[in-house]
Amino acid sequence: MASETRLPMAVEGLWRPPAVGRAKAAVLTVGPDATVTAADRDTGAIFSSAAFPTVRISDRVGSIPRNITFPDQSVFETSDNDTVDTLVRPHRKKNFGFIHGLERFHPRLVVLAALVVAFCFALYRFALPMLVEVAIVATPPVVPQLLSQGALASLDQTFFEPTKLSAERQKALTDQFTAIAALARGGNGVAAPAQVPPYTLNFRGGGSIGPNAFALPDGTVVLTDELVELAQDDEMVLGVLAHEIGHVDHQHSLRQLYRAAGVTALIMLIGGDIGSGTEDILVQGSALASLSYSRDAEAEADHYSVELMHKAGHDPAAIARFFELMRDKLGDKGENDFLSTHPATPERIAETKRYAEEIASRKK
């Protein structure tokens, strides 16, 4: 190599002793034996000298000054980034300066920008659902159990009253519920059987919540007296319960939780790069978007109810009839909790009816 005959390359800058503000004009050289030396620019007196691997060289970012920190914590500073790179390159790995190379102003940045858009889409559409699935598989069954027990206990303390249904009525409903729940385990092959917990039916007085039914992720299904009274026949009650089993079987609540957490975490991590104003708006936007996700979950549970009821030999259109009843009796006033999460919209009624007919004719 020709460099052996030349003087060692040098770069001019400032040298400062450890944690000292006053600087001295200095020259940095890298000798043939890979010794890095900072010396006085005028007198040539050596300030600091060390073997290359022990010296810390800050990465190149834009055109800000670089620091070369010696093991004694004294610092050589220079803005001559190109010369530093030339000095350093022979001693570094191949991908040295890769990030800075990407960052340089170049038409290639347009490609990177396009990639950002594509990856944002792919992340939201594919990677996030995949991560959610991984998280669900990784969740030990004890987690939904603990969480569900806590939720039920707090609801019992705040809203619910003991049920007023007679023991026979409870038993009749529980028997039918157990019969359909037995078919549900791992129902559509969506969830592995090991992860789908046993289902239990619990009766409560709804108090201010009124007619309602919901499922907790450990398979605890809660039914209020008011809903049993509202329904005209047991088929309707079972249709609603099958819908709730659908939520558990599809693990909707865990899925929704992980999804919301994942989206928020990603927005927060990019937060520093997009500014806090944009970050706030994105977080709000993702909350809006999760509403449409919960609508999809409702539709999925509706279909599940139709399928399960059919499989158990019950009326597959029971849930559709229940929605019609809700619409006629309660109106769409939105003052009911069950309605606000389970809107009895015309398209929902039509879709469940249509699907019930399809299932009935398909499997005859």
Binding site: S63, A113, L147, A151, G272, G277
Partner: protein, 369 residues
């Protein structure tokens, strides 16, 4: 110490005050590349690169901020940031899990969290100060737990409890805590913004907020009266396929957004005004005085147009916006020096963990350095 041979105030008449202006030399052209690579690699690595991204971003902004012929520097190591972020994310996820499934227990955690917050802020300030240097001399932060508790928990309660009337008092606590506890090397920084001056900056945003609120409410009432029949029909027709919880939420946002914008603008005016007051009463080492002369209207204009441009371009104008703001803030900030700036000596200290700083970062706290 070398300082003993520079007896300050010995001959006051000969002290020459010299104004050193801050300047910012970053460019959109250069920062765009750094930014797009940051975002791209953060996405590709599902957030892991964000720690490296933060270090590169901070180094770019610090390294381009000049004062008296020298620049600032940011020394945090990405791995410190990454560990801090992982801990913060785990805590946030655990907290949200609890809040979703065990509302009663989470109430207790919320209270515990309120008491943990000052600790996060204290450690966050310390970390951020210790990884910042100017002329090879690091900053330090000596604020304690109760100072942060007073400034942020009591101060926050004060602002909400009095509907903003005592906000200047909370601001005084906050600036006292953040700026007054900073040290440059081994020398103290003092900041004591006076309450009457903070109130001087309070009238305009208070008037904007109250006046704007009245106008918005009047407009809303007028709309409801004018369109009462249509609104009634809209909500009462049970068969109307348009009415869904989704629509109601959208309507809610439409109604709330003007108030949020109002609050945002008033906040910008107030922040700019109090920054002027606080920095103008900040003195480094008893001899160099900070000076800040933000024009409130100009600052609000830059902030709002920055946000709009960023949203309109799906985020791609962000580098331009960030550079524009940094440049403006540098031009309105100066240091009135009464002696050389390179006589300082620091002590190299353990930076501690980055959990606090990353909590503040992830939650969007603004340190205001």
């Amino acid at each position: 110490m070398n300082d003993t041979d520079v007896p300050q105030a010995a001959v006051p008449s000969t002290i020459r005050m010299q104004r050193e202006k801050f300047s910012f030399t970053g460019t959109t052209r250069e920062y765009f590349g750094i930014w797009i690579v940051n975002v791209l690699l953060t996405i590709v690595t599902i957030g892991i690169y964000s720690a490296w991204a933060k270090v590169r971003r901070q180094r770019y902004f610090y390294g381009n901020t000049h004062l008296a012929g020298a620049t600032f520097d940011y020394h945090a190591r990405p791995i410190q940031i990454l560990i801090g972020r992982i801990i913060v994310l785990v805590l946030l996820i655990a907290y949200n899990l609890l809040a979703t499934f065990a509302p009663l227990v989470s109430g207790i955690f919320a209270v515990a969290f309120l008491f943990a917050l000052p600790w996060f802020i204290m450690r966050g300030m310390r970390f951020s100060a210790r990884v910042t240097s100017y002329r090879n001399v690091r900053f330090d932060f000596t604020g304690g737990y109760w100072g942060a508790f007073q400034a942020y928990i009591l101060g926050g309660a004060l602002i909400y409890g009095t509907a903003g009337i005592l906000a200047p008092l909370a601001s005084q606590w906050m600036w006292n805590y953040t700026l007054g506890n900073l040290r440059y090397g081994d020398r103290p920084i003092k900041s004591d913004p006076r309450l009457e001056k903070l109130y001087g900056q309070w009238w305009l945003p208070a008037f904007v907020l109250a006046g704007g609120f009245l106008v918005l409410v009047a407009v809303a009432v007028a709309l409801v009266i004018l369109f009462s029949t249509q609104i009634g029909e809209f909500f009462n027709t049970g068969d109307d396929p348009q009415v869904s919880p989704y629509m109601i939420v959208v309507l809610f946002y439409v109604a709330v957004v003007p108030f949020l914008i109002l609050y945002f603008v008033a906040g910008l005016l107030y922040r700019a005004g109090t920054r002027n007051v606080a920095l103008n009463e900040t003195i480094i080492d008893d001899r160099h005085a900070m000076a800040s002369c933000i024009h409130r209207g100009r600052y609000a204009w830059i902030s709002i147009t920055n946000l709009l441009a960023t949203l309109a371009t799906l985020g791609f104008a962000r580098p331009w916006a960030a550079i524009r703001m940094a440049r403006y803030l540098a031009t309105v900030t100066a240091l009135d020096t009464t002696g050389p700036l390179d006589v300082y000596v620091g002590t190299i200290r353990d930076e501690g963990g980055a959990v606090g700083s990353e909590y503040m970062d992830v939650e969007g706290f603004d340190l205001g350095f």
